[in-house]
């Protein structure tokens, strides 16, 4: 059974991404794994002792968001699971893709038609993920 890894979080744009990943999993009869990366780099400006506490709270938050995504997928009849990682987004995603042996990685488009982010996803991140994992990468 092939595995689709869908990088997601909360918000309307993420729900669209999740829906598209669910459709793809149905089409390909694949297992769907949602991933949330608890990246606390926004805390860089804050002092060090606060970061571990924040990382733990972000992990809980990620689990909660992905549990909702999993419920959504299971309602649609798709076998689903989730994983929460910490650290930088790209290496965390590569590690997870290798671990679950993902055949397809699904990334969501930016919510606010941000051209710079979309360009980064399509022209920089996607090829890098493909090269590092050997998986197909799709920006939906």
């Amino acid at each position: 059974m092939s595995v689709i890894l869908c990088a997601t979080r909360g918000g309307e744009a993420s729900i669209r991404t999740q829906q598209r990943a669910i459709e793809l999993a149905k089409e390909r009869e694949a297992k769907l794994v949602f991933i949330f990366v608890a990246d606390v780099s926004f805390m860089d400006h804050f002092t060090k002792p606060r970061v571990p506490g924040m990382e733990a709270e972000m992990e809980h938050l990620g689990e909660f968001l992905l549990l909702m995504a999993k419920e959504r997928a299971e309602k649609a009849g798709v076998e689903a699971d989730f994983t929460v990682r910490t650290g930088d987004f790209k290496p965390a995603l590569i590690d997870a893709a290798k671990e679950v042996e993902a055949t397809l990685i699904v990334l969501g488009r930016p919510a606010d038609a941000n051209v710079t982010t979309l360009e980064y996803l399509e022209n920089t991140l996607s090829p890098a993920l493909k090269e590092a994992t050997g998986s197909e990468v799709m920006v939906v």
């Binding site: 926004f42 002792p49 606060r50 909660f64």
Partner: protein, 577 residues
């Protein structure tokens, strides 16, 4: 073995520091500070700037009978007092030359009558001696450096501590190299003088409370409380907002705001998502409650700790004089938020799936009941001692250090972990900031600003309160409120001395406290709490934009600043005190 050594070592350090802070300043024994010439007279006086503030470390040189050689040299003290014990009597004339890097005046020449009195062995009090500003190069160095550091902090170009240390380093470098090698006019202050500006009471109070709070925050109490808010409200958004505001306010009054929000934001986001509410509709009132709630206690905000230590305002004083104002401001804020989000709250869902409910409950579990019980007991006792400490002549820093010691010995004995949880960066930031603010105080910039504000306000108490609360409040929209409050303290001291109704009751200091904390709600960049919350929300996929925040925060901030000002005037003008 090593852990035990560190544990008891740190506990001992806290105890020694507490005792050191508790001991009164040693007073010189009678006759010890004299030089044995009790029969010879002395000259005394007070040095002050045009705003009537004392001038310290000015060098006074005594000259007799138009000779070039000095008879005696002394330095003015912190309170501006100077005293020259005459080593011998003059023949016919006495002159005192006064030198200071940042102030100037012509030599004081005693008249014939005064010289005669001295010759007859009578000491003379010359009263207040006013020196004018010099505005030398050092003034501009300190002023430009301070403004630069404020901008760097506001635009987040460097961490706060780095920015403040950089500023202090510039001042020292200019003083040491420029002042000694190029021109004396570049002198700002030397290292020894800079150290006198560090308020150790603040440093130790913050450190002690960091240890106490880090134990409590690790127990999961706040996440549990947030979940209880969800349960109590039964998913009813209006009730939920009110309960969350109350919990956040209470937590912020007793802990620092960033800690409170760090613990509350993720679980609040989960609750909002579960109820299908836009998370910002719960997070924005929580941010504002957190910034306002801290005003009511000495330990609620760093600015209150600064103000309390500077103006000797006790835990009880803050509680008695600010709490009702805080409650009124919170009521206004909550009503506005409920009105603003009325359509959003009506659309929320009431129930969630059992799986999500179980996950929420799991994320909000108390992690260590035993530690929670012990730490809460210590914390409650700490608050009680804060409240009664004034009667025991115990400064708050001593209470905080004693509480930290008890926590280390009885509750959380992993000292390495505890040390790693102390926010040393913030302590360094405070020390560097004290010195940096000291540099602009030293060169007379703060006195100049105080003089200008004094001219604007005059002796009108109402104008003084509104200028401080609203002025500081609007500045806090975008300027970090800790450096702002630190630099405003001497200004407030000057204004308090000028306005008859403000001298004894410290109303303007309370105004500074309200302005700095409430103003932090104005813009998203106004406080660390705001930025941290926005960061979490953005990572969760719910960005909190500057505009979205300002739409609610600006009107609320203006309203709460007005409520705060009116409360202070009512408290001190109508109720008296």
């Amino acid at each position: 073995m090593r852990g035990t050594f560190w544990r008891y070592g740190l506990a001992l350090f806290c105890l020694v520091a507490a005792i050191w802070l508790w001991l009164p300043d040693p007073a010189p024994a009678s006759g010890q500070d004299g030089d044995g010439n009790e029969s010879l007279p002395a000259l005394v006086g007070f040095l002050q700037n045009p705003q009537g503030q004392p001038i310290a470390v000015a060098e006074l040189t005594l000259l007799f009978d138009e000779e070039d050689t000095s008879v005696a040299t002394v330095e003015s003290r912190e309170d501006g007092l100077w005293e020259i014990a005459l080593p011998r009597l003059p023949e016919h004339s006495v002159e005192i030359e006064i030198e200071h890097p940042h102030y100037a005046m012509d030599p004081i020449k005693l008249n014939e009558e005064q010289v005669l009195s001295l010759k007859q062995g009578e000491s003379l009090n010359l009263g207040d001696v006013e020196m004018g500003y010099r505005y030398a190069l050092g003034f501009w160095v300190a002023a430009i450096t301070f403004v630069f550091v404020l901008l760097v902090i506001a635009f987040e170009r460097m961490p706060n501590a780095t920015a403040a240390l950089f500023g202090v380093a510039v001042v020292f470098a200019v003083t040491s190299f420029g002042g000694n090698l190029i021109s004396e006019d570049l002198h700002v202050f030397d290292f020894e003088r800079a150290l006198t500006y560090i308020n150790w009471e603040v440093i130790f109070l913050v450190m002690g409370m960091m240890i106490v709070v880090s134990v409590i925050e690790a127990t999961g109490l706040f996440q549990w409380l947030a979940f209880q808010a969800y349960r109590w409200s039964r998913g009813q958004p209006t009730t939920l907002v009110i309960v969350l505001v109350i919990i956040t306010t209470l937590a912020s009054a007793l802990l620092d705001n960033v800690t409170t929000m760090l613990l509350m934001v993720p679980i609040t986001l989960e609750i909002a998502i579960a109820l299908n509410l836009p998370p910002t509709s719960l997070l924005i009132p929580e941010i504002m409650a957190s910034n306002i709630g801290g005003i009511s206690t000495l330990i609620g905000t760093p600015t209150n700790i600064l103000i309390g230590a500077y103006a000797e305002i006790s835990f009880n004083d803050f509680l008695i004089n600010q709490t009702i104002g805080v409650i009124l401001a919170l009521v206004v804020m909550t009503l506005y938020v409920l009105w603003h989000y009325r359509n959003v709250y009506n659309k929320g869902e009431k129930g969630i799936s059992p799986t999500l409910y179980a996950k929420l409950e799991e994320n909000a579990k108390i992690k260590n009941v035993k530690v929670l019980r012990k730490s809460l007991l210590v914390f409650v006792l700490t608050i009680v001692v804060f409240a009664i400490g004034e009667g025991l002549h115990m400064v708050p820093a001593v209470t905080a250090l004693l509480a930290a010691t008890v926590m280390l010995v009885w509750v959380e004995t992993d000292v390495q972990k505890m040390l790693s949880l102390v926010d040393w960066t913030t302590l360094v930031f405070f020390m560097a900031l004290f010195m940096l603010v000291g540099s602009i105080q030293e060169v007379g910039l703060i006195s100049t600003i105080a003089g200008f504000m004094g001219d604007v306000v005059g002796s009108n108490l109402y104008a003084g309160v509104f200028v401080i609360v609203l002025g500081v409040g609007f500045l806090s929209f975008s300027i970090a409120n800790i450096p702002l409050a630190a630099s405003m303290l001497p200004v407030v001291e000057y204004l308090s001395g000028n306005i008859s109704g403000a001298a004894g009751n410290k109303i303007l200091y309370y105004g500074l406290s309200m302005g700095a904390a409430m103003g932090g709600n104005g813009f998203l960049i106004g406080g660390e709490t705001n930025l941290m919350t926005a960061g979490v929300a953005e990572r969760a996929g719910y960005p909190l934009s500057f505009g979205k925040f300002a739409k609610v925060s600006v009107p609320v901030t203006i309203l709460t600043l007005l409520v705060g000002s009116l409360w202070l005037l009512f408290r001190f003008e109508v109720l008296g005190g």
